[in-house]
Each structure stands twice: as C-alpha cells, then as structure tokens.
C-alpha cells in the first residue's frame, strides 16, 4: 500500500456525503415530489394558455393546498386586457 492510498483510505466520509446528496436529490423527486408536481403543472398550464393568449411567466400563480378531506389547486392567471399594447402586437 502506498503512502497516498494509506491516507486517502481514511477520508471516506466526503465520498459518503457526495453519494448521499446525489442519491437523495433523485429519490426525493420520485417519492415526495410535492413541489415538483407544482412545477410540472405550472409548465404545462403555461403551455396551454400560451397557445391562445400571451402571458408572462410571473403572472401565473399556482398553489397547492392540503385540506382535511380535499386538497385544492389554485391557479391564478393574469391576462393583459385587450387594450394592452402587447396583445395588439401578438394578435
């Protein structure tokens, strides 16, 4: 065993930490995935609305609320009024 491997053999904890961080980032997406669901919905909703009206990303609010027996998904989309110059450009 070389001197180098003698020393590097001892500090295995950083390897453990890195492996865990990568693994858990992945597993949390599959198992829990609450925030991911909101992100996913947001993208798809933006796409659907975008087909018909032009909206800015920040103007779409999505909230997932857990209730006693039901949960609610709240979607708020701010659409510029017809007078707005942007619609005119896009129309």
């Amino acid at each position: 065993m070389s001197l180098m491997s003698f020393f590097s053999r001892r500090t295995t904890a950083p390897v453990a930490r890195d492996r865990l961080q990568i693994l858990l980032a992945h597993e949390r997406g599959i198992v829990g995935g609450k925030s991911d669901l909101v992100a996913l919905l947001r993208e798809e909703i933006l796409n659907v609305i975008g087909k018909h009206v032009s909206v800015e990303r920040e103007k779409v609010q999505i909230k997932l609320d857990r209730g006693d027996s039901i949960s609610t998904l709240e979607i708020e989309v701010e659409i510029p009024s017809p007078a707005s110059p942007r619609i005119a450009v896009n129309a």
Partner: protein, 271 residues
C-alpha cells in the same frame, strides 16, 4: 397540553428503543408525566430496556381490542413514579392494531400524561406508519452512516405526507437525533460529521449521542442510560436533548471523551 412524540428511523438497530427509554426517563426525571409505548408488535424490547419484562400482563393490542383496560396494561416504573410503560404484544401480529383503536388509546393517554413517546418499529410498513400517524412531534434517530441517513430521509418524507398532522396541512415538528456518534472517527474523515448529516436531512438537531459502552451496560441491567449512569456522556446528551424537547435552549456540544494518552493508544481496542 399532552404531546405525542414518535421515535422513528426507517433503518433498524440505530437506537430508537434506547432513545425512547432514555428520553422518557429524562423527561420524567424532570417532573413530566411520561408514558413510553412499544409499537414494535411481535418484537417488543422496550420492556427489557426499561427492566419491566417480568411485569407485563396486558399489552397495547389487548387495550386496542378491548380485552383489557388501559389502567390494567400500564406498568408503572419502579424508579420514577411519573414514568409508565405500555408494552407491545409479543405473540399477536401487527394487523391487530387499527388506526382508530390506536387513536382512541392515545386520546385516553393524553388525559393522563404530558408526554406520550411511541417507540416505532423499523421499516416503513404498517407498524411504523401507525406509530407516527397521530404524532405531534417526531424524533428521527439517525446514525452517521449512508444507509441510515437515506432511510431517515424517507421517513421524513412520510412524516410530511402520511401523518394526521400533514394531512390537515399542519406542520409536523421534526428533530434529528444523531446517535452512535464517534467524534474521533468523524474528525478523521472516516464517518459522516454532524454538519454533513444536518445539511443532507435539513431538519433541526435535538442532540448528538456518542457511541458508548454505557448504553450496552444500561440495557444489560434493564435501566435507561439516563438513570443507570446520569453523568455518563450518553446520559448527559440525552438529558440535554430532553430539555430541548421541552423548549429550553441548551447549547449543543459535540461529545468528546477526555482520554489520557494511554487510553488514546490502547482504549480503542476495547471498544
């Protein structure tokens, strides 16, 4: 108001039962009325660690099924009068426990005790989910080791989704209890450090319990380590954790054994 605390981990053998007994005794020692409940149906051990194995007559399942009254099943500790044990059944299987039955027992206990500490079985199956189901507070027991940390992460996910609190949209109070910690090995980079585990799991730390032969000694004689040797390192760490659970702010210290040179050279061989 009574608090239901679940001691859970996912991975087996990390120190849940040891911690349930030690924290329960520490809280009771501080004047709180405490009951510890064994949810490990079929593999009960809390009775042994508490030194009450020969006094078990009725158990949690008997109470849930109405075969015994709660007062008949509760075993009062011989050392601390405000500490009690509700044992698990050794013979029945865990399907005998129903969610409603457990809820009813817990509500009855809420009237009589300040702390109801549920010792969860390992795993993420029915026994473990029942133990956490009605909890107000969770202590996640973790060893500084990859599989334990991964399983704790899973358990944290379940605490945030499968408990009554989570389903009501309320926040489940979660605390990390790092056990079997070996400061010297962590310093040498052989073992995950406190900060590594905290960064990965990102729930607040309630205590660091050192790896110590005192723990085995205490379980040999059936006394929670906080009563068998209150001045030992693990006992002091458990006492501090218990005070933090009560809301006191106690400075966190990383336990270090003060060893002489001879001990440093030869002490590890005995460990």
């Amino acid at each position: 108001m009574a608090k239901v605390l679940v001691v859970t981990s996912g991975k087996g053998g990390v120190g849940k039962t040891t911690s349930t007994a030690a924290l329960g005794a520490a809280l009771a020692h501080n004047g709180e009325k405490v009951v510890v409940i064994d949810f490990d149906v079929g593999l009960r051990n809390l009775d042994l660690v508490m030194g009450a194995e020969r006094r078990v007559v009725f158990d949690l399942i008997n109470v849930v099924q109405g075969d015994a009254k709660l007062s008949q099943a509760l075993i009062r500790d011989k050392r601390l009068e405000n500490l009690a044990l509700l044992p698990a059944s050794q013979t029945r299987d865990k399907d005998a426990l129903t969610e409603e039955g457990v809820a009813k027992v817990l509500n009855e206990l809420r009237e009589k005790f300040d702390w109801i500490i549920c010792d969860s079985p390992a795993g993420i199956e029915r026994g473990a989910t029942l133990a956490m189901r009605h909890a107000d507070v969770a202590v996640v027991v973790t060893n500084p080791e990859v599989s334990s940390v991964r399983d704790s992460d899973r358990i944290i996910g379940l605490l945030d989704s499968k408990t009554e609190k989570a389903e009501k949209g309320e926040r489940m109070e979660k605390h990390l209890l790092l056990t079997r910690y070996d400061t010297a090995r962590a310093e040498r980079g052989e073992m995950l450090k406190v900060d590594d585990v905290l960064e990965i799991l990102s729930i607040p730390l309630i205590g660091i319990i050192p790896e110590s032969e005192e723990v085995l000694r205490a379980s040999n004689v059936g006394t929670p380590v906080t009563l068998s040797n209150p001045n030992s390192m693990p006992a002091r760490a458990y006492f501090d954790a218990a005070r933090r659970l009560r809301g006191e702010s106690v400075e966190m210290s990383i336990p270090t054994e003060k060893k002489g040179l001879l001990n440093k050279l030869f002490g590890r061989r005995a460990a």
